[in-house]
Point group: C2
């Protein structure tokens, strides 16, 4: 039959996304499931994806057979347990997290508040570790969590270590969604803050992502990899943690960050 002469050539190559072929399309299904809170059945996924029926169906089948996706009793999809297995290994083996662990523990002991270790991925920050006062058995739900970089302390601190051109490239992709009245609302405001972070060495989150939650953070950069950007933060509820208290933790947060950096450098040099 006639081929499709109207093959519009609008290659929608998102600046960020390199071509990852078939794999990328399959993983994007996982992304859809991850990013949606409501239960999704086949047609729901179909609507949200740009794949045609047949294609999507086979992709989902493959994901299920690989254990990356599962079908719930109501026919909706959930992420598969094999992902837990991979993540468990990813976390346990993560060099950076292992190096940072004792330092964030000390930071927690010094401040008595919740401490986060975050790593930047593009324009989002993923929490790699967390230490809380109350023995929080359910913490796992937090590790691996991802938040926008532009409105969190860890995120802004991490952004600040990027080279300027890289930073601007990524900022083009930020959508300044307003989470609270304090959320920064445009690129100019964010750039201004990043300037301050660069000169002072500390980032603050003043209830910008979640009302009632404030934090002070300090950036960590890799001795070798210019694209690696991370940070530590001390977080607390605004009703209890005053701006003064936050400010009083700024130094020790920076010390923690730089201790981690130094340990990473040491980690790299010796041949063992």
């Amino acid at each position: 039959m006639g081929k499709n002469p109207q093959s519009a050539r609008k290659k929608r190559v998102d600046l960020a996304k390199k071509d990852t072929g078939t794999l990328g399309k399959a993983i994007s299904v996982l992304d859809i499931i991850t990013q949606t809170s409501a239960p999704l059945r086949f047609t729901d996924v179909l609507q949200r994806s740009d794949q045609p029926r047949g294609t999507l169906h086979r992709q989902i089948s493959n994901l299920i057979n690989e254990g990356l996706l599962a079908v719930k009793s109501d026919g909706s999809y959930a992420l598969g347990l094999r992902l837990l297995q991979f993540a468990s290994k990813a976390w346990a083996d993560n060099e950076f997290r292992n190096v940072a662990a004792p330092h964030i523990q000390k930071l927690h002991e010094a401040t008595g508040e919740t401490v986060h270790l975050g790593v930047l991925r593009d324009i989002e920050v993923t929490y790699l570790d967390k230490i809380e006062s109350r023995r929080n058995i359910r913490m796992v739900s937090q590790i691996g969590n991802t938040a926008p970089a532009f409105c969190t302390g860890v995120g802004k601190a991490a952004l600040s270590v990027l080279a300027d051109d890289e930073l601007r490239e990524r900022m083009k992709r930020i959508e300044f969604r307003r989470f609270t009245p304090n959320t920064l609302s445009d690129a100019a405001a964010l750039l201004a803050e990043i300037d301050i972070i660069r000169s002072t060495g500390n980032a603050y989150d003043r209830e910008e992502h979640e009302t009632g939650i404030t934090c002070v953070a300090a950036p960590i950069l890799s001795p070798t990899d210019p694209l690696f950007a991370a940070s530590v933060s001390v977080t607390g509820p605004a009703y209890r943690v005053t701006p003064q208290m936050l400010a009083s933790w700024a130094d020790i947060a920076r010390d923690t960050a730089s201790a981690i950096m130094q340990n990473m450098a040491i980690q790299l040099s010796p041949r063992s």
Copy 2:
């Protein structure tokens, strides 16, 4: 022209591996990384995979671009942080785990020992949740961990709920590796134990996977899905936890399991 359309009762497909095309090949790279403790560089992966150079190279590139794989400073590969993000969602949203959570908490309080929630995946068991006495901040490293089913309490309990033909099918794939002197060493021994588990309702691990670790477990089966197999267990160090103590927890472990089953059934019926 097709062959007998219906006589395909004998699925001739490779028992374990269905064809998952390009995706499967890519994921198998993640498997190689997961299953090897030593750091692997490109050629190391190449040796362990059956893909040719060029192909493997592109697969790895794609995995890296998708954030599923990362390159460490020494050129070896590590699982990527995106996996953490997926796993975080997989865990938080998991229906079964959410239903089971309060019950295993109670079981922990009643016994004072470590409690596990495990789910069977083929012939392995993945730990979906864990509650420990000591506020174990580092517990995440355990959740998502996977162990052979045939030599763990959770695993054997879970196997016992499978229908006989399904069980035998899977048992063909078990490799009876000897982890400790007590590890069951052949299919006959395992089948005998499963018979006992089916009649008594409890499985024991008598230092079969790790020397010094014992446990008692109880199977959980899904009210609807005959392929779903899980279990709860109470685990403790052999020097402190005597066989008598384990036996005294058998009932409450079974009670926990059946309470979880009932809750799952309730969870499914009402359409609020």
